[in-house]
Subunit: 140 residues, 2 copies
DNA sequence: GTCAGTGCAAACCCTTTGCAGAAAG
DNA sequence: CTTTCTGCAAAGGGTTTGCACTGAC
């Protein structure tokens, strides 16, 4: 079962032009068997419970690589850190500025119509919709 | 004329609970007589042409203060720097990831419907819509 | 054996902070 | 005079980089 999962993840990587090394497999295992949203720091802590099996540099390199190769989506919601989302389908996000929690919103519960014409010489790269919420008790 | 503009900006600040000091006036002059989108760095360069009239700390403090008091809107589109927008009406943004250019999109050219229910105990703080574009010639 | 990936530590860069001096009321 | 603001320089924190070592094939 573990070896099967490994095989799937390795195939997934190869299908996206990524060489499945040991460290990338460990990171992919945490990311794609769990799914959700991860910062570099969160991912590193989950992979390296006690010992240091994957270095910080490799975590950053791998997240950037996975995002470039379409395995992850980069989410810019917080000026202090970048999040990566395992859901590569079109969807939006809800961000709690108090807790730092980030969650998906399906596209069908939020419809965007009449996208404006883009400036000449540019092509769309993506549309990000972020609903920011804060805790009700906030004194603000 | 200059003194009139000063008076307007001073009144604007006082109306938002901000004490109009010399440095804040200089920054407000650049921001609100020009309008648009500014990073801390861009603003500082425009205020301090040659000499250093306003310090970096004061630029950051003032941008944060203006945003908190509703004179500016903070825009998170780039993991490397925060932008501030002088347009405080509801609107969206178009961001060119190649050039770093940021421009407004009027809300009526992009309609969002069916906002989902928010998680219990949270209140909306704002909705950000960012259309990312890149230059057509990009090799990607 | 060759080329790509990894780890470590240092460098980077935007932003924030501590504190002494200056300015506003 | 008291309180708030400003400036400087140093610290902070996420991210990137340089380079020698290791691993994949």
């Amino acid at each position: 079962m573990v070896s099967e999962a490994h095989k799937d993840l390795a195939g997934l990587m190869r299908g996206h032009g990524i060489l499945p090394t040991q460290q990338r497999m460990m990171l992919a295992k945490v990311l794609f068997e769990q799914n959700g949203h991860f910062s570099a720091d969160q991912l590193m802590r989950q992979v390296n419970g006690d010992s240091d099996r994957v270095s910080k540099a490799t975590v950053y390199n791998t997240l950037g690589l996975f995002a470039r190769q379409g395995l992850l989506r980069e989410i810019i919601v917080d000026p202090t850190r970048v999040f990566y989302c395992t859901n590569t389908e079109p969807h939006h996000h809800l961000y709690n500025i108090d807790t730092g929690e980030l969650q998906d919103i399906e596209t069908d519960s939020l419809v965007i119509s009449d996208l404006p014409a883009l400036p000449e010489g540019t092509v769309a790269d993506g549309v990000d919709v972020i609903i920011r919420v804060r805790n009700d008790s906030d004194v603000n």
